[in-house]
C-alpha cells in the first residue's frame, strides 16, 4: 500500500457520542449488519465522504468484511466514494422537471459555481454539481439538494442569489 504518506491520519468516526448513537441504534434491529446504511451515513456526516479507511472501520464495527461493505457502499448513489466540494449540489433533470426547464437550471449551476461540468468540483473547492434522477418533488420544478437542504422551484434566474447563501 502506498500513496497515503502525505495524508492526515484517519480520524475514527465511531468513538464517543457517535459510537453511543450506533449502539443505541443496534437495539432497534435484530442483526448488526442492518446498521450498515445508518453507519455509512454517520461516516459521511463526519468526513464528507466514505474513504477506504472508513470502509475498514465500518467493517470492523459491524463484523463484516471490507469487501462486503464496499459492495453495499457502491450500490447507493448518495454515498460519496471520493471527496466532493464543500457543497454538493444534486439537480433533478428527470422528465417531469426536464419538460419544465431543468436542464437550463443545470447549465446555470455549472456556470455560476464554476464547476464547468457535471461531477467536477469548482476550483475554489466550494461546489460539486451532479445530476440526480427524480428527487420526488416534481410539482416544484426544479428541485435541488444542496448537501441536506432541499430547495424547490429553482429557475436559472434564481441560481446566483441561491449560491450566494453557500459561502
Amino acid at each position: 500500500m502506498s500513496g497515503h504518506h502525505d495524508a492526515a491520519p484517519y480520524a475514527p468516526v465511531f468513538v464517543g457520542e457517535t459510537k453511543a448513537r450506533l449502539e443505541a441504534l443496534a437495539t432497534k434491529y435484530p442483526t448488526r449488519q442492518a446498521l450498515l446504511l445508518p453507519a455509512l451515513w454517520m461516516v459521511q456526516e463526519a468526513h464528507g465522504w466514505v474513504s477506504p479507511e472508513a470502509v475498514h472501520e465500518v467493517a470492523t464495527e459491524l463484523g463484516l468484511t471490507p469487501a462486503y461493505v464496499k459492495g453495499v457502499l457502491s450500490f447507493y448513489t448518495m454515498y460519496h466514494q471520493h471527496p466532493v466540494g464543500k457543497y454538493f449540489i444534486q439537480v433533478c433533470t428527470t422528465s417531469p422537471c426536464n419538460i419544465c426547464g431543468a436542464e437550463d437550471v443545470m447549465r446555470a449551476l455549472l456556470e455560476h459555481t464554476g464547476c464547468g461540468e457535471l461531477g467536477a468540483t469548482s476550483p475554489d473547492g466550494r461546489f460539486t454539481v451532479a445530476e440526480a434522477e427524480c428527487l420526488g418533488a416534481c410539482g416544484f420544478a426544479t428541485p435541488l439538494l444542496i448537501n441536506d437542504d432541499f430547495i424547490e422551484s429553482v429557475t436559472p434566474e434564481s441560481v446566483p442569489a441561491l449560491l450566494a447563501r453557500y459561502a
Binding site: 455509512l40 422528465s95 417531469p96 440526480a132 427524480c134
Partner: protein, 435 residues
C-alpha cells in the same frame, strides 16, 4: 387539498386536510385535530376486526399495484410464534410522484398512527419506515414526530397503557429507486445491496430478516386511522365510479399545468376535470399533448383517451394505462416526446440494479438507440429494434423495473410514431449533437 394551493371545491380532503398546517406536525397539534383516537380504538379491537374494517373499506395499495390492503394483511400467519414486521414504503421515487412527501412533511403522526394500527392488524410489534435518502426535510420531521410519539406513550413498551408494545423505526435510504420494490427495500433495511429478491417466498412467509412481513405504502397506511374511526362503509361510499375503486386518492400532478400540486380526489373524478379545473389546464396558448397518469412506469395516454376517463383503477385500465401511484405527468404541445422518452429510459438504465441481464442490457441499449435517433443517426429499422428490445424486457426479469422502461417506449412509439419518424427521415433537426 391541492397543496400548495387552497382546497378546490371538487376535492375531498381526508388525508390532505392539514397539508400546509405546521401545527399538525406536533403531537399536541395532531391530537387537537382528533389524532390518535383511531389507535386508542384499535387497541381495543382484535386483529381480525381491524382487518375486516379495512376489507370493508375497499382500500387498495396506494403505492402503485392497487392490491386490496385488508386481504394483504390477512395473508400474514396466525399463531406461528414468530416475530412479524410491518414495513412502510416511503421510498417514493417514481418520476411524477410526490404525494407521500406531503404526508411525511405535514401529517407525520397520521403515518405513525397508521403504522401502529397496521402492526396490530398483522400481529407485529415493529414497523420500519424506509424513507428515501433524498427526503432530508421529510426525514427530520418524521423522526421528530416518532420521538414525540414515544415521549407521549403512543409508541413504546406499553402503548397508551394497553400493555401492548409497538415500535416504529425510521430507516433512511441512500439513493436507489429500486429500493421502492418491496424485496429490495427489505434488503436495504438488512444492510444489503438493494437487489430485488426472487418470489416466492412472498414477504408474508419470509420477508424482512426472514420473518413474516407486510409492506404498505405511506398513503395506504395514512388512510387507515380515518377508516377505523369513521368506518369501512363510510370509506367505501366515497366513489364516483366503480365499486372496486373506493375512497380518496392523492394525485400529484406535475409538468405543463398551471397549478401543479397534490390533489385529493374522490375515486372516479373525470381526469379532464382534474387537469383543466383543479390544475388550471395548460399554459396560455398551449394544448394538451400527452398524460402519463400513474408515475412514469405506466403507458402514455393521448388527449382523446383522457377526454372521457374517470380517475380510478378501472377507468384508467380501460384506456390501456394504469392509475399506478397517482403521479400524473402532463405534457403540452411544446414537448419533444422522443427526447422525453429517452430521458425516462435513461432514468431506468441508471436505476437498474443490474442483476438481470435483460434489464441491465435492455435499459442501456434502449437509451443508446433512442440517443442515436435524437442525434439524427437513427436507422429505419430502429423502431422495430426498440419494440423487439421492449419485448425482451417485459415479463422476463425478477422485478418490473425492466418492464417499466419498456412501457413508455412501446406506448410512445405506438401513439407518437410520427415524431420518431421525423427524426429518422431528417425532417426534424437533431435534438442532440452528433457523436
Amino acid at each position: 387539498m391541492g397543496y400548495p394551493h387552497p382546497i378546490h371545491p371538487k376535492e375531498t380532503p381526508v388525508l390532505s386536510t392539514h397539508f400546509g398546517d405546521a401545527e399538525a406536525r406536533s403531537y399536541a397539534g395532531w391530537t387537537a385535530r382528533g389524532g390518535y383516537a383511531a389507535l386508542k380504538q384499535a387497541l381495543g379491537m382484535t386483529p381480525e376486526q381491524i382487518v375486516d374494517e379495512v376489507k370493508a373499506s375497499g382500500l387498495r395499495g396506494r403505492g402503485g399495484a392497487g392490491f386490496p390492503t385488508g386481504m394483504k394483511w390477512s395473508f400474514m400467519p396466525k399463531d406461528d410464534g414468530k416475530p412479524h414486521y410491518l414495513c412502510c414504503n416511503a421510498d417514493e421515487s417514481e418520476p411524477g410522484t410526490f404525494k407521500d412527501r406531503e404526508i411525511l412533511r405535514w401529517t407525520p403522526h397520521a403515518l405513525i398512527e397508521g403504522c401502529a394500527i397496521g402492526c396490530l392488524a398483522i400481529r407485529a410489534e415493529t414497523a420500519y419506515i424506509f424513507i428515501r435518502g433524498e427526503y432530508t426535510e421529510a426525514y427530520r420531521i418524521l423522526q421528530a414526530a416518532v420521538d414525540e410519539a414515544y415521549a407521549h406513550g403512543a409508541l413504546g413498551a406499553d402503548v397508551f397503557g394497553s400493555g401492548k408494545r409497538l415500535d416504529v423505526i425510521v430507516h433512511r435510504g441512500a439513493g436507489a429507486y429500486i429500493c421502492g420494490e418491496e424485496t429490495a427495500l427489505m434488503n436495504a433495511i438488512e444492510g444489503k445491496r438493494g437487489n430485488p429478491r426472487i418470489k416466492p417466498p412472498f414477504p408474508a412467509v419470509a420477508g424482512l430478516f426472514g420473518l413474516p412481513t407486510t409492506i404498505n405504502n405511506v398513503e395506504t397506511l395514512a388512510a387507515v386511522p380515518a377508516i377505523i374511526t369513521r368506518g369501512g362503509a363510510w370509506y367505501a361510499g366515497l366513489s364516483l365510479s366503480s365499486p372496486k375503486s373506493t375512497g380518496t386518492k392523492l394525485i400529484s400532478v406535475c409538468g405543463h399545468v398551471q397549478r401543479p400540486g397534490v390533489y385529493e380526489i374522490t375515486m372516479g373524478l373525470p381526469m379532464q376535470e382534474l387537469i383543466f379545473d383543479l390544475c388550471g389546464g395548460m399554459r396560455p396558448g398551449r394544448t394538451l399533448k400527452a398524460v402519463i397518469p400513474g408515475g412514469s412506469s405506466v403507458p402514455i395516454m393521448t388527449p382523446d383517451e383522457v377526454a372521457d376517463c374517470p380517475t380510478d383503477y378501472e377507468g384508467i385500465a380501460a384506456k390501456g394505462s394504469l392509475l399506478g401511484s397517482g403521479g400524473m405527468i402532463v405534457m403540452d404541445d411544446s414537448t419533444d416526446m422522443v427526447y422525453q422518452i429517452m430521458r425516462l429510459a435513461r432514468f431506468y438504465a441508471h436505476e437498474s440494479c443490474a442483476q438481470c441481464t435483460n434489464c441491465r442490457e435492455g435499459t442501456s441499449w434502449t437509451v443508446k438507440v433512442l440517443d442515436r435517433i435524437l442525434r439524427g443517426e437513427g436507422k429505419p429499422s430502429d423502431l422495430d429494434l426498440l419494440m423487439d428490445l421492449a419485448d425482451q424486457m417485459t415479463g422476463k426479469t425478477i422485478c418490473v423495473l425492466s418492464d417499466s422502461c419498456a412501457t413508455p417506449v412501446v406506448s410512445g412509439i405506438r401513439k407518437f410514431r410520427h415524431e420518431f419518424e421525423a427524426y429518422l427521415s431528417g425532417a426534424r433537426t437533431p435534438a442532440l449533437a452528433g457523436a
